[in-house]
Symmetry: C2
Subunit: 321 residues, 2 copies
């Protein structure tokens, strides 16, 4: 999950001078933001500061971030003809600034902690392109998915090809692990996931397999489809806080690491609640090899930095790192 | 789930002349809207047209509906002092117009189909009052819940008292069953649900127990806590479409009816997809006594009326009613 953000004063100071997209598109700034949590919080890995939506622009889907409202797509895709107009691109050219940021971050990190890159997965990227921004019901997305399955599959296959290649380019540029975010795919039940998403997401992981880097596969509200998500791929499967970690592990099955799953709102405080909820996650992980302690979703802007620091220190203390 | 709404031309015609709150607060209009789906669609029960938020106003929490954005609370509750200012009220006085609508609807229905009343449950009502409207993360709500547990419990106990009494009044006015909507409680994991919600929601069902009417308990995204929701109460437990109905039934346990769980976006079409998804729900119900076929959440405004009619007819045909 993105570590940097509005909860850090040093990030807000940069955002006062630059837009979110400027931070993402300027390698020196993206590097600075990537390193902010590494300096502040005792994290075990750095997460590249970037945005899931960056690949949309070279696909011909313009967008911007609207203050207080999140992403806004210029012309949401609503028909088969719209989907057919989406362009293929070469990540090493169109997203060269991301790869440059990776090289800069790795120089700065000097091996202190590994660096995690990421990209969006088919359902989540498609839903932004089709809905035009955040959605509570994904009605337009599902209407196209159910109503135009051929165009849907072609669109998702293209997204999978592009994101697979983009992640390979990130690994070549130096990231030590990659995360595939299908943040909103929990809106689908297992039957629809298997038909409309699984084959495409699997292609991303198949493209990454020869590179032998850890791959993390994450979504929110995916309790009912964790088995299918694991089947699609990922050496690490992420779980949000809704499903107890031991149950999530059972659903994911053996042979995978599991990342999760503290409710990010717990970090709002108070401290005794933060520690007891962290204890609960650790107890359910039960010391299993392959547990990556993490939040179940991104850090909220109103989170006190010292609470994030506290959890990192506490987990290290409890797990003896 | 609300059956009437913007997907029906006759509803849009009324809404062109009246606000949503006018429809809810005028017994004759609420009656007319309640009956619209009974006339149009072969449903087995009528659902009172009303809104979860109506009780907020007599609690001293003013609100309105903002076009295109949903509910907006005038002064969201954000502190213990705010929670302490919330007022107790007598539903038979403050919400007399709802009870009058129930009497009018029952006169019109003349026993053709039963009438279902409803009220909001503690987490969902509290979250509207605290967030000020819809929320994607319930950060303010959970911050108060974790940070001020005593004030939280007092507030939820008050909500439970009031909603219990409101539902009793609805039964006395003539509804044949009641639904308790904890629509957004799926944002909590089992541990938090058990500590912060279960005792309060249980009070509502305990208040209703002597009346011997069917009680439906519903939330969205509750796959991981269906067992706890059943434990809180309800002779019928609702499930959304994310959890397959057979698994939902296992989690809920024996001795309850189960309501669900077609994804409402499936109704956007096409017809073969609507029928196959309906078949899947019915197959997972497996002809068990106590299955109430329903959508997994409310009907979307862009849904074609004929698709709703089709599903009602198809389910009746397949189940031999």
């Amino acid at each position: 999950m993105r570590q940097a953000g509005r909860y850090m004063p040093e990030y807000r100071a940069l955002r006062a001078k630059h837009s979110l997209l400027e931070l993402c598109r300027t390698p020196e700034l993206a590097t600075e933001v990537t390193l902010q949590p590494v300096h502040r919080i005792d994290v075990d890995a750095a997460i590249l500061f970037s945005d899931l939506l960056l690949p949309l622009e070279p696909m011909g889907i313009g967008f911007d971030f609207v203050k207080g409202e999140g992403p806004a797509i210029d012309n949401p895709l609503r028909s088969e003809a719209d989907l057919a107009r989406v362009r293929r691109f070469e990540p090493r050219e169109s997203l060269a600034h991301v790869l440059e940021a990776i090289r800069l971050v790795q120089t700065e990190l000097g091996g202190r902690v590994p660096l995690i890159g990421f990209a969006g997965a088919p359902f989540t990227l498609a839903s932004y392109a089709i809905e035009g921004g955040h959605s509570s019901n994904f009605a337009h997305t599902k209407a196209l998915m159910y109503g135009s399955p051929k165009a849907w599959h072609a669109f998702c296959a293209l997204i999978a090809d592009l994101m697979g290649e983009y992640l390979v380019a990130q690994v070549e540029a130096g990231v030590n692990a990659v995360q595939v975010f299908d943040s909103w795919v929990g809106a689908l039940n297992a039957r629809d996931y298997r038909e409309f998403i699984l084959p495409h997401t699997r292609r991303i992981f198949e493209r990454l397999a020869p590179l032998d880097v850890p791959t993390i596969h994450f979504g929110v509200g995916t309790g009912a489809i964790l088995g299918e998500i694991a089947e699609a791929g990922g050496s690490v499967i992420g779980a949000d806080w809704r499903t107890p970690l031991d149950e999530a592990w059972d659903r994911i099955g053996p042979g995978r690491a599991v990342q999760g799953n503290l409710d990010p709102t717990v970090l709002l405080g108070p401290v005794d609640r933060i520690l007891s909820a962290t204890d609960d996650v650790l107890a359910r992980a039960g010391g299993r090899v392959g547990h990556i302690f993490n939040l179940g979703h991104g850090i909220l802007p109103m989170t006190p930095v010292e609470h994030v620091q506290l959890v990192a220190q506490y987990v290290h203390q409890k797990t003896g790192r």
